[in-house]
């Protein structure tokens, strides 16, 4: 799994109640544009700065990306941990998907579809027809912790 980075706005947005990490629909979309932790704040909406451009829809990729189901949203000993289930693979159908280098996590429920963080895969990836790409979350360490 690539390294996870958070958008700077996430912590404050979380504390301000813009997310409910126990019930929100969290989604992952693909981009080939480098995220800016300091400036990008939302996937869609009217407040803040739109995040990295999403790749074009088609050939098996739907605009908005895929839902990453919440596996658990719990605290233990005062440390909160969010664990997500894998969102399932993108499979290129009639033609290629990409290129993309970043998988970006956001809340589809939050008013402005606020951004949470992203994974950087290091180099641009293009799926040829019939190839697939999966985002594989670690069920042990989870996506993030808060303390």
């Amino acid at each position: 799994m690539a390294t996870f980075s958070k958008f700077n706005s996430f912590s404050e947005s979380l504390a301000e109640g813009k997310f409910n990490l126990g019930t929100d629909t969290l989604k992952v979309y693909l981009s080939n544009t480098a995220p800016s932790a300091a400036t990008h704040t939302r996937y869609d909406g009217t407040t803040g700065t739109t995040g990295p451009a999403e790749i074009s829809a088609g050939n098996g990729y739907l605009a908005g990306g895929k839902t990453a189901p919440i596996a658990s949203s719990q605290q233990s000993g005062g440390i909160y941990k969010l664990v997500l289930s894998d969102p399932g693979a993108w499979v290129a159908t009639a033609d290629s998907i990409g290129p993309f280098q970043y998988a970006i996590l956001y809340s589809d429920t939050a008013t402005n579809k606020d951004l949470i963080g992203w994974w950087n895969y290091g180099t641009p990836v293009t799926l040829a027809q019939a190839e697939s790409f999966s985002v594989d979350f670690d069920p042990g360490t989870g996506v993030l912790t808060i303390q």
């Binding site: 912590s11 504390a15 301000e16 808060i146």
Partner: protein
């Protein structure tokens, strides 16, 4: 005097799931005695005796004012508010602890417990002040 501030176990989760919202009314009450148990979730779970109403103190405590949330460093968020001041009037105010809770949510979930390390007293005419940390505010969250 060693002052100890302790968060309850569920506090981080309550911010993560939106239970705690800065639009809520958070109140700080003064206690003559109490026991901190990290697993307590609601005000009714906490074992405490509140300072009696009178001499400038009102049962239930005082609502935080000018509650703010700001991004600090890059990944942290800071909850801050004005310092809380009771002015003793007609007698003294004495307390050994304080308890912050959310007065808006059902059951009044507790946020944190402050142990003063002994009984502190504001004599008649003096202020009983809770001064939040100038750097870290009330709570600074670290998201990792």
């Amino acid at each position: 005097m060693a002052v100890t501030v302790s968060l309850y176990n569920h506090t981080a989760k309550n911010f993560a799931d939106g239970t705690f919202n800065p639009a809520d009314t958070f109140k700080l009450m003064l206690l003559t005695s109490g026991t901190y148990d990290a697993t307590d979730a609601l005000l009714a779970d906490v074992v405490y005796t509140q300072v009696a109403s009178g001499n400038g103190y009102t049962t239930g405590g005082q609502a935080l004012t000018n509650l703010t949330l700001t991004t600090v460093t890059t990944n942290d968020a800071k909850l801050d508010a004005d310092d809380v001041i009771w002015t003793a009037s007609g007698g003294s105010i004495a307390a050994s602890a304080a308890l912050l809770y959310d007065d808006t949510e059902t059951g009044d979930p507790v946020v944190l417990y402050i142990d003063f390390g002994g009984t502190q007293t504001a004599s008649d005419g003096a202020d009983f002040r809770i001064v939040w940390n100038s750097t870290n505010g009330i709570i600074t969250w670290t998201v990792a």
